[in-house]
Point group: C2
Chain length 477, copies 2
């Protein structure tokens, strides 16, 4: 029997540099790798998402739509893939449905093929309209399960969610493990459960980070359970808070009942390209190589460092242990949301407030909204006493409907506001840029003509640094 | 059914710092972790070997025997484990049998429990006497398979070698993968094969490096196949050319049919200890995080960098591709030895000579000895034409007997020579230090009274560096 071919999604152009170097990589440092990426044989190439869009206009003076069109042109044979925060699109609030449709339509028009649609709370209602919009333009709608660990999250629950996503028309299911929490056994159980419940031909994509050092094993188990596609990053853009190395995946499967059919020569050229690029962005890299704390603390690394800096800003840097102990309680009161943007920030900041000012003496606006249902529903029930506090503080009523159902049509208003901006070119994509990032877009549109900025070091700077530091010794076995 | 408990060998005190920081860690940077290591529940604690011994006397002015006694005292409940190069002991030549016995006897007396006995060529005759000596003093004799990939190395061959080691009285079998070449499927096949051939109760220990990024999966597969003990390093001393993280192994097995029974609180304290120590030795670290090249080149990273510096020294740095192409040929002519110390250096240097001076125009003395059988037998036949060249060049006869059988008794001579050295204290252990490293021992014995040197940076130096460099940005998902 010939081995089963496992698809691979290469994340170097999006999640890898987002996770490793604060999303700072400029398009010009990617273009020379595109021909090899296009011919390597990936199932898809992830290359666009909220943080890359944000970084383009905030730091790089790059039009994110121009970036997308460039990828489309340079990788004509590849499925381009993006990460979409459901009704939030690439921003931090819910958008009215017509804005969602416009965004998806323009993304498809400019070259996007696969839309991985997720919601931080795993609330299917927040994904439904985006998925429908993707299907309407004839592109691949991938429904996403955000994986987390809590007393309420079970394999059965994830299998049920997969069913809801399939009912909404998902062409594939992504199991998304943003915090590297997915251990081998649950990876196996969830994938197997989905296949056994909904059919072996349901396509399952598995996305893991490598922070805890264990998730390549999880990918192996997911593959043994029937997973169809897995996400990896070329080795020179891998590991730490990033992803498992693509070449290691290839090596892992050699001799087994599975194969990748990737072109190793192309992979090595892609690797060499990014090996030369990565040092340019060293100042944006975290020092974390492996961190298994999250298994006991349940607190992702980025969330922890956020809380630490909030405490330090209040002169209370020594109270981090109290805040860490407070997080599970706040999370439980909120109904056990997965801790991913934005829920991780909302829960973390409230835990800091609780420790500094007394439990729920003051709620942040976002936490009150979370408690009142304005972000959607979680798996667990929210603590009614805290809901009451949120109501009393904000005078807002708790809701049970889909949050976006409360929104008025807003497209015309967005067009009008964008039209008033210096540098606005009249396009729908400029309106969308303004809609996603209203405080950053004006500055970007005004300066766009100056062209892209590269915040990495120049070859000259790197060379000067290299000659001033001695060669590192090489360990010999 | 309760899960099967997998033993763990912690390598932080030996192989981890050997692989990551050129074996430079001083005893004083280890002692504070020993109480936690002792209570963590490891199957054994690897803490001694050739490179640590060498580094102690060459760089650290530390008596390696004193280091061993300190470990014994600080970890009374642990099995201490060492790596022993068979008839080479910790040196680079074959020793006469009585020296082997003396060394093993003194090691046991000073606290060693488990002797992992290996030979670079996998020649059982080079391991037999050391194993017998270990058994004679009532300690654990572990026979080792050095794993490599070649046209001649097969799963069946490794299973057969395991049988030879068991026949020699091995109490356990180590599958040693020094180059991170062991992929998941062969890991499974070899372990399963040994168990099925010689019985399920044959203890198998698996040692992998993490260089290629794939070997935690190999450990998982080895465990599924029945492996009893695996080697890992605490996370803060892991990855890159080192080993898989201990805490990741624990996380990997959660929820499966296997468990480790390690004390996680102790692990976290050990981790924090070495997280504070590791930056002191940063200048000795290699930049390699993951490297899968070895799967195509079959050349370990350390060997490659050796050959590169040899070429550069001859002004021929641009000929590395030719040398890399020459290596498989030289390796085949030598009968396909695994490439590990010292065979990696011997084969690599000859490949350089072949490229620079013409194929086999000049043989190194070591390569001639290898071809004439003075290092023992390999799996493959040696190329008779090259054997003839070696004979012609050196006038030495090819041998087929065990190399150590040619040696005269040498203990009394070693005692006499050591006795003449400044600082010699009259002990057998000093004689052994001289026997292992005759060119380094005199300097060490003469300076021993000055006490240990720490080549790591001081806290003050680290603090000064930290304040002069800006905080690294932390990537946020
Ligand atoms: Co991700
Ligand atoms: Co090793």
């Amino acid at each position: 029997m010939s081995p089963r071919t496992i698809g691979v999604t290469e994340v170097a152009l999006r999640d890898a540099h987002q996770s490793l170097m604060a999303t700072r990589m400029a398009l010009e440092d990617m273009v020379d790798a595109c021909a090899d990426i296009d011919r390597a044989g990936y199932w898809s190439v992830e290359c666009w998402g909220g943080a890359t869009y944000d970084s383009c206009i905030r730091f790089l003076n790059e039009d994110p739509w121009q970036r997308l069109r460039t990828f489309r042109e340079l990788m004509p044979n590849s499925r381009l893939q993006m990460l979409l925060r459901g009704q939030n699109l690439l921003g931090y609030r819910h958008y009215e449905d017509m804005v969602v449709e416009k965004f998806v339509e323009k993304s498809a028009e400019n070259g996007m093929d696969v839309f991985r649609v997720f919601d931080a709370l795993n609330d299917p209602r927040n994904m439904a309209h985006a998925m429908a919009a993707v299907k309407k333009v004839g592109k691949h709608a991938q429904g996403t399960i955000c994986y987390t660990i809590s007393p309420l999250h079970t394999t059965e629950g994830y299998i049920k969610l997969a069913g809801q996503l399939l009912d909404m028309g998902a062409e594939s299911i992504a199991l998304k493990d943003m915090a590297a929490l997915l251990q081998p056994q649950p990876a196996y159980d969830i994938v197997r459960g989905i296949k056994e419940t909904y059919g072996e031909d349901v396509q399952i994509n598995v996305h893991c980070h490598s922070t805890t050092g264990v998730t390549l094993v999880s990918l192996m188990k997911a593959i043994e359970a029937g997973a169809d596609v897995v996400d990896t990053a070329i080795s020179s853009m891998s590991l730490g808070p990033g992803h498992n190395p693509t070449e290691s995946l290839v090596a892992m499967l050699e001799g087994t009942d599975y194969t990748t059919d990737l072109d190793m020569d192309a992979l090595l050229r892609i690797r060499d390209h990014f090996a030369a690029v990565r040092p340019k962005y060293k100042e944006f890299e975290s020092a974390t190589l492996v961190d298994t704390d999250i298994f006991s603390s349940q607190i992702p690394g980025g969330m922890l460092s956020n809380m630490e800096s909030q405490l330090r800003a209040q002169g209370a840097g020594d109270r981090i242990r109290e805040v860490m102990a407070e997080v599970p309680l706040v999370k439980a009161d909120a109904g056990h949301p997965p801790l991913v943007t934005p829920s991780s920030q909302i829960v973390g900041t409230q835990a800091v407030f609780n420790v500094l000012m007394g439990r729920y003496k003051v709620l942040t606006g976002e936490f009150a909204d979370l408690m009142l249902g304005y972000y959607g529903e979680c798996l667990g029930e929210r603590n009614p006493e805290v809901v009451e506090i949120a109501h009393a503080q904000t005078k807002k009523e708790p809701i049970t409907e889909r949050p976006a159902d409360l929104l008025e049509p807003e497209w015309d208003k967005l067009v009008a506001e964008a039209s008033a901006l210096d540098g606005f070119d009249g396009s729908d994509t400029d309106v969308l840029t303004y809609a996603m990032f209203p405080s950053v877009a004006p500055g970007f549109l005004a300066s766009r003509d100056e062209g892209p900025k590269n915040v990495g070091k120049t070859p000259e700077q790197l060379k000067a640094e290299a000659t001033s530091s001695s060669d590192a010794g090489r360990a010999v076995q």
